[in-house]
C-alpha cells in the first residue's frame, strides 16, 4: 500500500516535470522557473496539494545539489580557474559586491538580521552558470568576442561561491560570534586544503574513479561525490562546495563520455531539487514579498548590466557587445536557491525563502528574454552609429 502511494505520487511529480519541461522548451525559456512553480503548486497551500513523499524528495534534492555542483565543477579545469582569477579578478570583485550589496541592504531593511543579510548577498550576487551558458549556446553567441568575459565572470562567481558557502554554512550553524568566527576559520582551512588537493592531485583521483566501463565509472564518481559532499557538510564547508571541488579535481582527466553519462542524473535530481524547494515554500507567503522582490529584480538587472558593461569594456569590446554581455548575466538560478535552502533549513525567517523563490522565478524568466532583446538593441545602436557617420560625411 505504502509502495503504491509512493510510486504513484513520485510518478505524478516526475511526469509533471517532464510535461512542464516540454512547455519550457516550446517557450524557449529555462525550465528552472517552471520547476519552482510546479513545486509551489503541488506543495502545502498550493493549488493542487500533493502529499509528496517528503523524506524521499528531501534526500533526492540533496543529491540534486551535489549533482548540479559536481557537473558545474567538471566544466572547469584548474587552469580555467587560475587563469581567470589572474586576468579578471577586479571584475569578479566588482560583480560580487555590486550585485550582492543591494541584496544585503534589502535583507537588513526587511529585518532578516545580519545572517539573513549575508544570505541575501549571495542570493542576489550570483548569476546562474547553467542558464547563462545555455542561453549563450542557444543564441549562437559562443563565438562572440564578449563571450569569454561573460564566461570568465561565471567562473569567478562560482569560485567566489566556493568561499562564500562555507562561510555561510559555518555562520548559520554557529550560535555566537566567537563560535561563528572559529567555525568559519575551520571551514576556510578545510576549503584551502581541498582546493590544493583538487588542483594538485586531480589526476590521481581521476585515475581512481576511471574504470573500463561507463557503468562502474558512474558508480565510483557518484559514490565519491556523495562521500566528499557528506564529509564537507560535516566540516561545515557545505556539501555543495565539496561536490564542486571534486568536480574541478576530476575535470582535467575524466573522459568526456563519463562526463556525459552523469548528465541525465543531474537533470533528474536537479529538477527534483528545484521542485522540492517550491514544495517547502508556502505560496501564501509570496504576496507580502512581491514588492521587495520587484525592487530587487530591477536593481539586479541594472547591476548585472553595469557589470557586463565593465567586463566587456575591459576586454576592448564595443558598445553592442557590452550590452549583450550585461544582459546575458542577468539570470539567477541554482546558487540562489541553494543559499535560500541552506538559510531556511537553519531556521532563518521563512519569508526569505519566499523572497528568494519570487526573485529567482522572475530572474530566470526575465534573464533569457533580456539576453534575446539585447540583439535588436545592439543592432539598432550599430545602425544609428552608421547613420550618424554617414551624415557627418
Amino acid at each position: 500500500m505504502h509502495t503504491a502511494a509512493l510510486l504513484i505520487e513520485l510518478g505524478a511529480v516526475i511526469l509533471g516535470l517532464g510535461l512542464v519541461g516540454r512547455l519550457a522548451g516550446t517557450l524557449g525559456i529555462s525550465p528552472v522557473p517552471l520547476y519552482l512553480l510546479a513545486g509551489l503548486a503541488f506543495g502545502a497551500g498550493g493549488i493542487f496539494p500533493l502529499n509528496a513523499p517528503e523524506e524521499f524528495l528531501d534526500a533526492a534534492s540533496e543529491i540534486g545539489v551535489v549533482m548540479l555542483l559536481l557537473l558545474l565543477g567538471l566544466e572547469y579545469t584548474a587552469g580555467d580557474l587560475l587563469g581567470n582569477l589572474r586576468r579578471q579578478a577586479p571584475v569578479g570583485v566588482l560583480d560580487l559586491f555590486l550585485n550582492g550589496l543591494p541584496g544585503a541592504a534589502f535583507g537588513l531593511l526587511l529585518g532578516y538580521g545580519p545572517v539573513g543579510a549575508l544570505a541575501m548577498f549571495g542570493i542576489t550576487a550570483v548569476s546562474s552558470s547553467g542558464i547563462v551558458a545555455k542561453v549563450l549556446a542557444d543564441l549562437g553567441r559562443l563565438g562572440n568576442r564578449e563571450t569569454p568575459s561573460v564566461l570568465g565572470i561565471l567562473v569567478l562567481e562560482d569560485l567566489g561561491m566556493a568561499v562564500y558557502l562555507p562561510v555561510l554554512t559555518a555562520v548559520l550553524a554557529a550560535s555566537g560570534v566567537w563560535e561563528a568566527t572559529g567555525s568559519v576559520a575551520v571551514a576556510l582551512a578545510c576549503l584551502a586544503v581541498a582546493l590544493v588537493v583538487a588542483l594538485r592531485w586531480g589526476a590521481v583521483i581521476s585515475r581512481f574513479v576511471s574504470a573500463g566501463s561507463n557503468e562502474v565509472t558512474l558508480l565510483r564518481v557518484l559514490g565519491l561525490a556523495l562521500l566528499v559532499a557528506g564529509v564537507a557538510e560535516q566540516l561545515h564547508v557545505s556539501a555543495a562546495v565539496g561536490a564542486f571541488l571534486l568536480g574541478i579535481a576530476l575535470s582535467n582527466d575524466l573522459d568526456e563520455e563519463a562526463h556525459r553519462s552523469l548528465e541525465p542524473l543531474r537533470d533528474l535530481f536537479g529538477a527534483v531539487f528545484f521542485v522540492s524547494f517550491g514544495l517547502t515554500t508556502d505560496p501564501s507567503t509570496l504576496p507580502p514579498v512581491l514588492l521587495p522582490a520587484a525592487g530587487l529584480v530591477v536593481l539586479g538587472v541594472l547591476t548585472k548590466l553595469v557589470t557586463g558593461w565593465f567586463a566587456a569594456k575591459r576586454a576592448g569590446i564595443a558598445v553592442p557587445g557590452r550590452i549583450r554581455a550585461g544582459a546575458a548575466l542577468v539570470p539567477r538560478g541554482e546558487f540562489s536557491i541553494v543559499i535560500a535552502g541552506l538559510a531556511t533549513a537553519a531556521g532563518l525567517d521563512p519569508q526569505l525563502a519566499a523572497l528568494a523563490a519570487a526573485y529567482v522565478l522572475s530572474m530566470a524568466v526575465l534573464g533569457p528574454l533580456l539576453a534575446r532583446w539585447a540583439d535588436p538593441v545592439a543592432r539598432r545602436y550599430v545602425r544609428r552609429q552608421r547613420e550618424r557617420a554617414a551624415t557627418a560625411r
Binding site: E75, Y76, G79, D80, G83, N84, S129, A133, A137, G140, R141, L142, G143, N144, R145, E146, T147, P148, L151, G152, L154, V155, E256, R260, I317, A318, P320, G321, R324, A378, R379, V382, R386
Partner: protein, 160 residues
C-alpha cells in the same frame, strides 16, 4: 596572418583570424568534439553574422575539403624541388582489372618502382593508403616516381 586562440571556460577553445580581405572568421572547438564555424559580422566586429554547427564528422569533411588543394600544391612543389621526379593522378577506369582489388594485389612498387602516395575518392583524399586498401572505379591514384615508372603504373592499372 594572426591566429588568435581564446579559452572559453566550460566550453572549449575559440580560434579566429582576419582574412587578407578583412573578414574575420573563426572556429569554436567544443570539448565534446562539436565545432562551430563562425563568420563575424562586418557591422559589429564582436558579434557573429552566422554560426554553423558541425558535428565531428562534418567538421572533418570540411577540414579535408579546405585542406585538399594544399596536398596538391605540396605535390607540385615537391616535383619542382626534385628533378626527374614525376607525379601524376591516374584514374582507375571502370573495367580495370584492379577495380575492387587491393593495392597489394597490384604490387605497383615492385613492378614499376613508383609509389602510390594517396587515393582521391569522391573528393576525399586518403593519404598513404595501406596495402589492404581496395581500388574502386573512379578513384584517382596519386603516384610519385620516375617518368617511366609513372607511365608503367598507368599501364598496370589499365591492363593488369
Amino acid at each position: 596572418m594572426d591566429l588568435e586562440e581564446t579559452k572559453l571556460p566550460g566550453v572549449g577553445l575559440r580560434h579566429d583570424f582576419t582574412t587578407a580581405r578583412g573578414r574575420r572568421i573563426g572556429v569554436v572547438s567544443q570539448r565534446g568534439g562539436d565545432r562551430e564555424l563562425l563568420l563575424y559580422s562586418q557591422d559589429d566586429p564582436d558579434a557573429c553574422h552566422a554560426v554553423v554547427d558541425l558535428d565531428p564528422d562534418e567538421a572533418e569533411v570540411l577540414a579535408e575539403l579546405l585542406g585538399q588543394p594544399r596536398v596538391v600544391e605540396r605535390l607540385a612543389r615537391l616535383r619542382e624541388q626534385v628533378e626527374g621526379l614525376a607525379t601524376e593522378g591516374i584514374y582507375v577506369e571502370p573495367g580495370s582489372p584492379f577495380d575492387g582489388r587491393t593495392l597489394g594485389d597490384a604490387a605497383i612498387r615492385s613492378r614499376t618502382g613508383a609509389s602510390v602516395v594517396a587515393l582521391v575518392r569522391a573528393g576525399e583524399v586518403l593519404p598513404s593508403p595501406a596495402p589492404s586498401q581496395r581500388f574502386q572505379a573512379g578513384d584517382k591514384v596519386v603516384v610519385v616516381g620516375t617518368q617511366e615508372g609513372v607511365r608503367a603504373t598507368a599501364d598496370v592499372l589499365a591492363n593488369g
